[in-house]
Symmetry: C2
Subunit: 644 residues, 2 copies
């Protein structure tokens, strides 16, 4: 568990300062640092700071009821609810009947899933602990703090990152961390660190920076890139993620870069685990291929991986196209394998936890040169409202990000930092007078914090729950991906009917999500009866839009994310994006996953039965008429979608 | 209390889009907004978002013990502890003896000032309230949220800002607000909104943006400006703040701008209430003068005012140089006056609160064109660790800042947003079943929230407490500002001695802080016996450094902030900055203010008795030798200074 730094024979990370933006190069340490040593003089009268007095904070203590780490069952690599056989048409038809009956009850029941054992944690106002790495109280957490993070939380994350997440990091000292206000903030800071703003009107084309991204990617990350005037350079993907080789793959993009567009990109934005929106998990072998190219072309890799712990072996077993499971191989935890069924390399250092060992590793674990920057967040493991995450990279990069932090966010909120610290570390018993828990309570029955053990158990439980939801949704969609024209074949008797398949036409296709929170559904629009009446791709986008609208009407009532918003270029959106919907199985309540999935399948089926172009046009006209005056008037609803 | 928007005859704010940076101009609304209306369809199955499920947040409820709004006594415009007469040399000498005795007890007692009535607030996991402006629960607060802020908190702040802080805002609709992660974040976003990054190597000098600032200002704000390659243009100040007229005043700087340095600045960064570091409060008349110049030269005014509510009438009465108190006028709450003794204009709309009416108004209240942007924060009214504040400006500016927020911080932490909302608004009783407070408890005995009344009472109480501390410190320093060479004049008898003044030499000067948290102390180095041995200003800086170091040694043990770090240019630092120390009377505990102030006075007195240059050089040598290896090695100590 100890750091490797003592007898660390790993080589130092590569100097990346030539990649820093002009602004980043101009950033220097705060002049305040010269005073640090004087703060430690015993009894010193501190008139130098610009702080309010801690006794004037109106919050005396913070308390919370919190889950125990074992609240949710981990999936034991076989799902709780095994999916029915996917190609049984009889089952499909019966499911279709059932779902009509259950539609009445489609609105979620509100019985609380929170009737589970819980514990109380408490952050006291003032702790007598002298060691800042152990001190958790409001007097420090609600005061101005250091940009790297609240010391106890920062230290926990740093240890966890170095020892458990990336024990194989190949460079000297291992990576450093700094807390962020979540991954959107992290990406914003990384962009500032490495790219110069560029203006067509003022600057040379040769100075235009660019960002390599997956062919489909997280829209909000691109929204941060575009106003800076940068190129966005999409790279082809498969069901794992970014392609290293082949047409449109990374080598192709870098080798054949068109310098008339700007500099060859030096920064890559990639979501490698539970890719948003496609759900892919990039294998270790693919990571090595991509890494090699990035070394050759001196590209910095930024991994934005909020879903890293959501890797689904049950789905891996369903998919047959991905590199590492040529056969429909079942995951076997006794064989050293990652969750994507890829063999674990010989000599690979253990994280100390079976669960973490089963996770396909971050590229930091093969980052010999220190060119990987990783964005981690508590948004999907605790809650998005935390606005806390951390950035992992070689120390010289973290240092510059710290300077940016000092003049922007300063630190995550002390409310959440102290709560997370108390949850994870527990109260500091050394500060307790004669057994009275004046210093707070931890997140376990015995008054201790979760520690790394509890944390790993918690996220393993979450993985189990999201995996079960994924399987529920994927099963229903898999069973509904064919449009079945059926008729009564024969009457076996007065009381019995039998259904038979007359025609089977594929209307949807997807890979089972091997990670993350999304199912990336491709609609086979070519099989729509009206497809041939839509000539240009811009018109086809309208057909897709009509389906999207149709799904929001009764009785289907389903809101999907149209693929266009995950298309990093207009060209991709027009050519490919409109064919897809991204479905999030994570957000709705557990008992709603199945009814909503059924309604979705029903809706798509019904849409493919529309034979009159006028029906389509009518949907679109109503939309056009009503959008303008309703957009942007609704307070608070952005919350229902998240940053997407 | 209602908004003015219904029959609002005020003119619209001026179009400021020509001021937007290239990046800001390129920012567009999120494509997500097109979906908002669909979120409202009853029973819709939400598969579009990218959110985790709320039941998988490990926090089930948040609770806190909180102060009542009347915990602290407001100062009734006469201080709790009236300062002794300042020019009584006899008192000075006796104080000097007393302080030596009390030095033994200089370390703060830790008896808690928190033994005051408190109440408990509770944020429940799920509230049944449908109205998002009233709903306060973890299911929404810890989920992704909207960039403008958590709806109930955003709405409270917006109402408070429009109706109580700036009821006289002269433009149509009044100002809009957006929550920030505190004022450092707010300033960072404003800088991004209005300035282009500039590079000497790449860009024309004529494109170089600049920022107008006070001659002495908050160093961290300048640290955000410098790496962008911008000019910093200092403007002369007096004890109020920025000067409009006269040499080095705003008109002088703008009229005689040297275009060889870059564009004439279009952005002003100013701290107008309790200026950091000088403590000035800019009068309404001076605001009008500055505003007129800003209209003429099309300058945007950014007010960074964390100390706005800390305006001290007792100090105003002490100072005689400021425009609005030519005579040593006592503050009289029955005469319509601001805290700086300036008459309130006829027809001035009331804020609804006597306390707020007594505060010198923000320039937003005279902002006919909508060119004022104001940064407000909870850092000094609740706690710095909140990392919550808000930006106030005309709506078109707030809209662009919202786009920046959506791709950087997203929103302040939901932990603190829900806690503040619960504290201020109280629980939503409409969601409570048969009287059981399942939806949480408010910050008052009766289970209600503080509301605007409680909030104003709270900050008025804080003002009282900080005003008392200010008076304690200023009194002691005022009494010690002369070096008194004293001797025994005569012996009146065996048991009695009398002290008499032989020589009185001024060694310090300052204006009583009329606002904020700082006393800006000028050291009269010219009266130091060794002054003539320091020839150049760079050497004089060393003399100041020696005093600073001397104060950190026993028995004085005081840490002050050297004036250099508040000097926005090297020239100002070398010419003026070294003559000053900034003293924060806010951060140390109440019972430490007096002993530390005495130690400071003692230390400065003792330093002025040093007659051997070698003693000075020795101090500096020890410093030089030990700094290098100790700087930056201390974890967590940045917290002790804040952002400065």
């Amino acid at each position: 568990m100890s750091s490797f730094q003592d007898q660390d024979s790993r080589p130092a990370p590569k100097d990346l300062t030539h990649h820093f933006s002009r602004t980043t190069k101009a950033r220097v340490p705060s002049s305040i640092k010269q005073f640090y040593k004087y703060f430690q003089i015993p009894g010193i009268g501190q008139l130098a700071g610009g702080l309010p007095n801690q006794y004037y904070f109106p919050f005396d203590t913070l308390e919370a009821s919190v889950a125990r780490p074992d609240r949710w069952k981990p999936t034991p690599n076989t799902p709780v609810d095994p999916p029915p056989a996917a190609d049984d048409a009889d089952v499909i038809a019966r499911l279709s009947l059932q779902e009509k009956k259950s539609n009445k009850n489609a609105v979620s029941s509100t019985s609380s899933p929170l009737n589970q054992p819980q514990d109380a944690i408490r952050v006291p106002h003032t702790s007598s602990q002298k060691d800042l790495l152990k001190k958790i109280d409001l007097a420090t957490a609600l005061q101005y703090g250091q940009a790297q993070g609240y010391p106890p939380l920062y230290y926990f994350i740093r240890q966890f990152t170095q020892n458990h997440l990336h024990p194989n990091c190949p460079y000297k000292g291992g990576p450093e961390v700094i807390l962020s206000a979540g991954n959107t903030d992290g990406w914003s800071k990384v962009l500032q660190t490495f790219t110069n703003e560029w203006s067509e009107e003022k600057d040379w084309v040769r100075d235009r920076d660019g960002v390599l991204v997956e062919h489909f990617t997280f829209g909000n990350a691109m929204t941060a890139v575009t106003p800076r005037g940068l190129n966005i350079a999409p790279v082809a993907i498969d069901d794992e993620g970014m392609l290293a080789e082949g047409p449109g793959g990374l080598r192709d993009v870098l080798e054949n870069w068109d310098f008339k567009k700007g500099r060859r990109p030096r920064l890559m934005y990639t979501i490698t685990m539970g890719q948003n929106p496609t759900s892919g998990v990039l294998s270790l072998q693919r990571r090595r291929d991509i890494y090699e190219l990035c070394c050759k072309y001196d590209v910095i890799i930024v991994e934005d991986d909020p879903y890293w712990y959501l890797q689904y072996p049950t789905a891996t077993a369903k998919n047959t196209t991905t590199t590492f499971h040529p056969s429909n191989q079942d995951f076997n935890p006794d064989v050293p394998m990652f969750a994507n069924a890829e063999p674990r390399p010989a000599g690979w250092k253990s994280s100390g936890y079976d669960f973490l060992d089963s996770i396909v590793p971050s590229s930091i674990q093969i980052d010999t040169e220190g060119r990987v920057i990783r964005l981690d967040t508590f948004s999907k493991t605790v809650a998005p409202g935390c606005r806390v995450g951390w950035i992992t990279a070689q120390p010289a990069v973290i240092e510059k990000i710290q300077y940016i932090t000092e003049t922007s966010t300063q630190q995550p909120s002390g409310f959440v930092q102290s709560m997370l610290a108390e949850l994870l570390l527990g109260p500091d018993h050394s500060g307790i007078e004669s057994g009275k828990p004046k210093d707070g309570k931890g997140g376990l029955q015995d008054g201790k914090g979760w520690k790394a053990d509890g944390w790993v158990r918690w996220i393993e439980g979450l993985r189990g729950n999201y995996e079960r939801r994924m399987n529920k949704m994927a099963t229903i969609i898999d069973n509904g991906k064919y449009l079945v024209k059926s008729g009564r074949r024969s009457s076996l008797g007065d009381d019995e009917e039998e259904w038979s398949v007359i025609e089977k036409k594929q209307i949807m296709s997807f890979d089972w999500p091997v990670g993350g929170m999304f199912l990336w559904l491709k609609i086979v629009f070519e099989n729509h009866p009206l497809y041939s009446t839509f000539k240009k791709s811009s018109e086809m986008e309208r057909l897709a839009r009509a389906l999207w609208l149709f799904l929001t009407t009764k009785p289907y009532l389903v809101l999907a994310s149209p693929g266009g918003i995950f298309s990093p270029s207009a060209e991709i959106r027009e050519r490919d994006g409109w064919k897809y919907f991204r479905l999030c199985f994570a957000a709705v309540n557990d008992d709603e996953v199945e009814p909503i999935s059924h309604r979705l399948v029903d809706g798509i089926n019904a849409f493919f039965r529309i034979k009159d172009r006028k029906t389509i046009e009518k949907l679109l006209e109503e939309e056009d008429a009503s959008v303008a005056d309703r957009v942007g008037t609704v307070a608070g609803v952005a919350q229902m979608l998240g940053p997407c």
